[in-house]
Structure formats: C-alpha cells, structure tokens
C-alpha cells in the first residue's frame, strides 16, 4: 500500500481547542503537522497528529468520528469557523487535505451551543437531538400492525420531498452554524418528512407542537431566517422545511385550540 507518487504534500499548523472536561478551562493549542498527503482526509490528518502526540506521551485530541463516509453524523468539528469545514454538502470526515493551503493555520473548534455541552476537546454531547425525536419524531405503529406497503400510495413528489428532509444525519451542524444555536433545521426536517407522508397525518399536530416545545425547553435559540444552517448542512437540507415547520406549527396551534375533543378521550390503556 504505497502512497501515490502524484500526491502533493503540505504542511500546516493545527490550532485546536483543548479542554480536558466539561468544567475544565479550555484553550487553543497549536500543533504543527508536516508532509501531509493531500489525498489524506482531515480526520486521517488528526489520526496522524494524535499518533505523534501519543508517542510523545501526551494525550491525543479527542474527536468524534465513526463511519468516515459522511452518513453516521458523528463527526462534528468547526474548521476555520465553518461547521464541517470548507466543503459544501459534506461532513468533516469527507474533507480532504487538498482543501487547505501549504502553511495554513487551521483552527478547529467543537460545535458550540448551550444545548450541546462539551465533553472533551472536540467532543460534544448532542443527546438533546435524541430527546427532541423522543418527544414526537416518530409514527406510532406497532411492529406487525402495518398494512400492505402498497396499500398507501404516496405521490412521488411528496415521497421525494420527504426523502430530501429525511436525509438529515443528526450531526448538529445546523445548530453549530446558526448564530443563535437554533435547532430549527433539524426539527423541521423530521417534522416535514413525517408531515409530508400520509402515514404521518394522524399525529401531525401533536408531533410538531411537542417537538418544538421540547426544542425550546432544551435551550436552543430561535431562527432568524439567515439560512446559515442549510448552507452548512452536510446533506444540504433546504430551509424551505423551516418555512413548512413554521406553517405546521401555527396551524397545529390553532387547530389544537379549537378542535373538539371527545369527552371519552384520555387515558387509554
């Protein structure tokens, strides 16, 4: 496994946020990294820097990563002030060193938001997203209770749009990129995916109300329609879904205020 001869090499300085734990003080630390192949991925560069630190007896930089192909949503750094770095429509793991110049200082920070408390170095806790989904990001269908799949036709345009929204990988870049640390794009994507499909209609109103309320309670900011989220999204999910979320939320608020409720409703077993 020999490196390709046509690959260029560059040297860079890595300026990384180091913080030993949630309550420890944090600071930027510079690490030089020399002779890096431009075919190397950004995370592979971090691996190499970490191996160097380990051999020097220092603690390597903690960073979140797993699939390294842009789909699991684990990787999460802010690189040179941009969530997931300089690419468009890609996650940090899909950034290659050819995106940087020789001699460049690369500033790497964790995603910053009150709702994403820092764990260590570049690792943050994004379980707030799980709690939003638990509030209603699902269709209540018991295993085995489903009708035949083709008994519910879904117009192709709706299905395609739902798929656009469903592409969200839950990485949190939208929150990181938003100046208000708002989770609107994340919530909008899930609300829209399920709201566009006929299967999602019965719980449509309760879902959007519950998910938005949970989002607010977790300390995310609000949307000021600047669309930094969709620009940073590794799956380029459109902020059109935020418009849809706003509309759904308003409709659901009005409907749930005036819709009659059966007096027999309430605690079902």
């Amino acid at each position: 496994m020999v490196a390709e001869t046509n690959s260029n090499t560059i040297s860079i300085t890595l300026r990384v946020w180091r913080q030993a734990g949630p309550d420890a003080p944090g600071k930027f630390v510079d690490y030089p990294a020399a002779n890096l192949s431009t075919h190397m991925s950004f995370l592979e560069m971090l691996d190499v820097v970490n191996d160097g630190l380990t051999l020097k007896g220092e603690e390597p930089i903690a960073f979140a990563h797993d699939c390294r192909e842009g789909i699991c949503g684990t990787c999460s750094c802010t690189i040179n002030g941009k969530a997931h770095g300089p690419g468009h429509g890609v996650a940090t793991c899909q950034i290659y060193m050819r995106a940087f110049r020789d001699g460049e200082v690369i500033v790497v920070e964790p995603f910053r938001a009150k709702a994403f408390p820092l764990v260590k170095d570049l690792v943050v806790d994004r379980s707030a997203f799980d709690r939003i989904i638990q509030a209603g990001g699902f269709i209540s269908v018991r295993t085995g209770a489903a009708p035949d799949a083709n008994s519910i036709p879904v117009p192709k345009t709706d299905a395609d749009l739902a798929m656009d929204a469903a592409a969200c990988i839950g990485c949190g870049a939208c929150v990181a990129a938003c100046k208000n640390a708002s989770a609107m794009l994340f919530v909008a994507a899930k609300v829209s995916q399920l709201g566009l499909l006929p299967q999602g209609q019965p719980e449509r109103d309760s879902r959007v109300l519950a998910m938005v309320n949970t989002m607010d309670a977790l300390g995310f900011g609000s949307c000021t329609n600047q669309y930094e989220c969709s620009a940073a999204c590794p799956k380029t999910i459109s902020h059109d879904f935020i418009a849809r979320l706003n509309r759904d939320y308003l409709k659901a608020s009005v409907r749930s205020a005036f819709k009659p409720v059966s007096s027999a409703a309430g605690g079902s077993g």
Partner: protein, 640 residues
C-alpha cells in the same frame, strides 16, 4: 463440548416458521413487564428488537457505545433491502428469494433460517413504510424496485443511496417512541466489555461508561447482542472506525461458540487505497454495476496509460467475458476475486496497481449524462470528493475491500446461542448468509431478526425463567467480572510501551489481508498463525495507551478492541485453515476448478464450524453442526 442443537422445527420447509410460532411457549402479557432484557447495539437489529420487545411489554435496557442510538453502521448501507413482494410481477416469490439467498451463500447456511428470512421480508417493507421510511416510488405513488447484486428479479426496495440510513432511522424512531413511553432505558456511550453468566445462563453485562470511565454492572433475564460484524479485524474495511468484535468476543470467552469466522465478504466496488495513513475504505454502491462496465487493460504495458487512450480492442471486460449471463452483475465474491486475479496478473490500474476500471462511458452514450447523473449522481459526487476525479469524464478506479462478515456467534433457530439466555441478532450471528451474502440482504436480515423473529422466540426461553428471578448485580459473578475488566483497563495504561494502538491494528490488518484475504492457502494461513501471536505478544508488551481510565479515553477504547481483534484474527485464520474447501467468501487456492471457481467439498465440509473457547493459551475446540439439506439439492454455483 458445547451442545449445538439447531432446534430446526420439523415439517415442510414453508410451514416450519408458522408452525414453530404456534408451538413455542408464550409469556403471559401481565408477566412480560417482570422480565428485563438487555439489548446491546442499536443498529437495525438492536433498535428494532429493543422497540418491538418494549412494545410487547418487556422492560428493555439498550446499550450503545455511540453517543446516540442513531449512529450504528447499518446507516451506511447504500443499495437497498430485498423483499419477496413481487410488486414488479417478474416472477419473484418467497421461494425464489429463499433459493437465491441459499445459493448465493454457496450452500453453507441453514435452509430453515433462510426460508424464514424470505418469508418475513415482506412484513419488513410493510412495517418500514408504515413508520414513514421514504422509499423510492413510481409516478403512480406505488413503491419502486430495482434489481441488485446478482438477482434476476427486481426485488430491491431503496431510498436513494441511503436505504440503510432510512431503515435505521425508522427503527430509531420506533426505539425513541418506546424510550419516551418508558419501555426502554437507553444507555449511550456505554460499551459492553463482558457477559455475565450465572449458573450457565447469560444474566447480565459489564459496561464501561465511556464518558466517566465508570465500570457498571447490569442484570437481566436475557441478553441480546446485536453488535454487528468483525470486518475491522482487517483494519482497512468499509466498516465504521468504531465497529468492533468486543461484545461478541467477550461472550465467546464466556462460552458462546463462534461460528465460521473465516466467512468474510470482500466487496468488489470500493475506492482503492492511496496511502498508509488510510483509515477507511469507501464503498461505491453495487448498483453502479447495473450500468457501469468493469474492465482492465489486456496488456500490462497499458496499465498506467490514460484509460481513454486504450482502444476498445485492448480492453478486457473480464466479467462479461467470464460470466456472460451475469456479466458485471456477478455475485460479490466472484467479482472481487476476478479483480484480484487481474491485478495479480499485473494488469491492475492506478499507481498501486491495485485497481480496475468501472466505466460509464457506454452508459452515458446510451442513456445520456442527465440520466446517469440522476441514477448515480450522489455516488459520483462521493467519488469526486475522495479522489478529485470525475467519473463522468474518466472511468472510476475500484478495488475490493472487506465489507461484511458472514460468520459470527452461533445461534439456533430461536437466535439463541449455546449459552442459554444469550441471543445474537443481525450481522453478529452467523445464521442466514452462509459463506457469502447477497446484496441488499444484510438490511433484510437485521430487521427480520429484530422485528419479526426475536419477539417470538425470546418468549420460549423466558417462559422457562421464573419472573423476577434474575440475579442481583451484587452477585459474585458480577463482582468478579467487573473486577476483571477494571484490571484489564489498568493493565493497558501500565504498559507504557513505544507504539500506538493504531500501529498494531494496521500491522494486524496487513497480516490478515495478505494471508487470509480474498484468497487463502495452507501456507499463508500457517504463516499468519505464527505472525499473529507474535505480534499480539509485542502489542501487549509495547503498546502505549495515554491518559486515564476515569475520563473519555479513545485510545483506551481502541486498545481493548484491538486486543480482541488479535485473538479473533487468530481464530479466523485457524477456521480458514481447517476448512479445506472453497466456498463463497472463503477461497482456498488449493480448492478451485480450472476456471478459478470455488470448489466446495460437501462430503467433508457441509457443516457449520462453531469454535468453543477452552481457556487462555489452549487451542479452541471445533464443534460441528451438520447442514442437513432436506429440500434443496446442493449444487455447484454457476453464474455463467
């Protein structure tokens, strides 16, 4: 010696599962909440099992080492999921899916399991659609299908290039619903490091909290492992970096048999390696082979020339040449080995000589670039991201990479291992794919196990357990296991050697890839069996793990996983050495037909090899479960 009773129900093949469901024991609905079940892993199998068991009323605890139950590597499956719906009216049926899967597995899987898989495949699609999984649709609003990886019918359902993700998010949403309802207690950042066996039954696990470093003990009435495959033993693979064998391996060391570890699948269409810093190989979906043509130069001298300058007459479309009826869609193992053969002949392309072309020029001529862009645009984008080359203008370079492992912990028809109370689902078990897995079948198996098999079969075990009789976490077995793990963790930190964990992982991976990869020989395996223990000793003497055990420490996590890979790697080679035949993903060069095809030995090896741990330093015991084919004739696989 372990008793391997497969518990295959009697009766006609098509009736076995239905009959079994009516005959196994049930747990009274009021009693279900008295049983606690631990599920480790939240990929397709783990998440679907956790959600479904909680819906039934069991108290479930789910453990993942990820920061969220939505991250497991099922999410990366691109192509699709098979189901015998026959929506395309092209002659598909449960039997045909069963037969294709069995044949694709080179007749090394259990007939009854595979048939059950084909039967429940149709329910999976219904379930996922009801959950809101946005499968591709036709203009009439009905579900679309495509043909995929070696199938002659269109039975694959897909959601763009993200089928695995969409199915996983469906299962995750069901799991989230049950977490909110209180049916599932979710433990994230929690890595299972040991199985606790009390009186011969699996009754709990030991977990390291990856954030606090705390060693925690959890007891349950049954333990389910859905912890995926072990392909990262090769270091470079299409697996996620975190994928590991630790949960399965620690269960093996507690008595669970490990079956057929040598059955590893090499995927033919991955992006070639560029350098030794490489951490990951990226898969290009097999669907590319529907329209792309695979070739290599006929002459060695042409291998570094620009592909466009090589005339048609000097190109060898070797899959089309060797397998005229399947052509570029030949099964994975066959396509992978053919690529290796071409490269071994010195005709491989790219600087490393480890690559062949996957060419879309004809498809672009025939269909036009817009159609190709619509079908494969996102894959071409991925390729461009990684290689900075445009597949619209020049052929892709591809090479096989480790992608899936068919082997895994041995389970019976109820998915229970030989340790009572320990169940194994999805890729972590060995049961359904034989020696080779067909494309779009992994998602099917994971969800079949989780949604539609374990919810029935676990009752058969639990009905025999007294409600509330599970041991306390203060039982001596739990204390001893936790102490053992704590000591192991300390040991890593004390070595303070001179090399990193990743250094040893790379070297181990190289040994396995070179000696036990796409092609294996007695000599190569015997050598690997010398090299691996030597390297393992070096690892334990010379590795360095910085930091402490009381915080997030990724080096420490990796050290434990690599330590297990060393042991598994040895077993993998031993299994490959003992299986003196070629079948599916296990290719022994000594056993081939003159045209290079696998030569099975059904006389001697129509069985499952289930390895049993005998204690540290002692050779493991090779148990055998014969494969009795009652309904199908084992024939030579022929894709010509």
């Amino acid at each position: 010696m372990a008793k391997l009773d497969s518990k295959i129900p009697a009766g006609p093949l098509a009736d076995k599962w239905r009959r079994h469901k009516t005959e196994i024991k049930l747990v009274n609905p009021a009693n279900k909440r008295k049983y606690e079940i631990i599920v480790v892993g939240a990929g397709l199998a783990g998440a679907s099992a956790s959600a479904t068991l909680a819906e039934l009323g069991y108290k479930v605890k789910n453990f993942v080492f990820h920061d969220s139950p939505r991250r497991a590597h099922s999410i990366a499956a691109q192509g699709g999921i098979n189901a015998a719906k026959n929506y395309q009216n092209d002659g598909d049926s449960v039997h045909r899916l069963f037969y294709d899967t069995l044949k694709g597995g080179d007749y090394r899987s259990r007939e009854a399991n595979v048939h059950r898989l084909a039967e429940v495949s149709v329910n999976i699609i219904d379930q996922c659609v009801a959950q809101g999984v946005p499968f591709a649709r036709e203009y009439g609003g009905l579900l679309a299908n495509r043909s995929f990886g070696g199938a002659q019918v269109s039975r694959t359902f897909y959601a763009r290039g993200q089928t695995g993700q969409q199915l996983l998010l469906g299962a995750y949403s069901a799991l989230s619903r049950m977490i909110a309802a209180g049916g599932v207690e979710q433990h994230t950042n929690s890595e299972m490091l040991d199985l606790v066996v009390v009186d011969g039954h699996a009754k709990g696990i030991i977990v390291r909290n990856l954030i606090t470093g705390e060693i925690e003990r959890y007891a349950a009435d049954a333990v389910i492992l859905a912890t995926g495959g072990y392909g990262n033993v090769f270091n470079l693979s299409t697996y996620a970096r975190g994928s590991n064998v630790t949960a399965s391996w620690r269960a093996y060391k507690r008595g669970a048999c490990f079956a057929n570890p040598c059955y590893t699948q090499i995927h033919p269409t991955c992006i070639p390696v560029t350098g030794d810093y490489q951490s990951k190989l990226t898969l290009m979906s097999e669907s590319l082979r529907n329209d792309g043509r695979i070739w290599a130069p006929k002459n060695k001298a042409d291998r570094l020339k620009p592909p466009a300058s090589i005339p048609e007459a000097d190109r060898d479309y070797y899959l089309e040449r060797m397998y005229p009826s399947f052509g570029n869609l030949a099964p994975r193992d066959i396509a992978s080995r053919a690529a290796k053969r071409v490269c071994d002949e010195g005709r491989g392309v790219g600087e490393t000589g480890l690559g062949v072309y996957l060419d879309f020029a004809d498809a672009i001529n025939r269909l036009g670039e817009p159609v190709v862009r619509e079908r494969y645009g996102n894959l071409f984008d991925i390729y461009h991201e990684i290689t900075a080359e445009s597949a619209y203008q020049q052929p892709m370079r591809i090479f096989p990479a480790v992608h899936y492992t068919m082997g895994g912990l041995w389970v019976d028809y109820n998915l229970m291992s030989n340790v009572p109370g320990l169940f194994v689902l999805g890729e972590a078990n060995f049961s359904d794919h034989g020696a080779n897995r067909l494309g779009a079948s992994a998602l099917m198996q994971g969800l079949a196990d989780g949604y539609f098999v374990i919810p029935y079969t676990i009752g058969d075990y639990l009905a025999g357990q007294k409600p509330g009789a599970r041991p306390s976490v203060d039982a001596p077995e739990f204390k001893a296991a936790a102490e053992n793990i704590r000591a192991m963790t300390e040991r890593f930190l004390q070595i303070k050697g001179k090399e990193t964990v990743s250094h040893y992982h790379k070297r181990l991976g190289k040994i396995l890839w070179e000696h036990c990869g796409m092609a294996r020989t007695r000599a190569s395996l015997e050598q690997a069996l010398k090299l691996i223990p030597a390297l393992r000793d070096e690892f334990w003497a010379n590795v360095t793990v910085p930091g402490s055990a009381a915080t997030l420490n990724q080096s420490l996590e990796q050290a434990g996983r690599v330590a297990d890979f060393f042991e598994l790697g040895e077993l993998l080679c031993l299994d490959a050495l003992t299986r003196e035949e070629s079948c599916g993903g296990h290719f022994r060069e000594e056993y081939q037909y003159p045209d290079g095809e696998c030569k099975r030995d059904d006389e001697k090896f129509a069985h499952v090899a289930a390895w049993e741990f005998q204690g540290a330093g002692k050779p493991p015991l090779r148990n055998i479960e014969p494969l009795n084919y009652e309904f199908t004739k084992m024939s030579v696989r022929n894709y010509k």
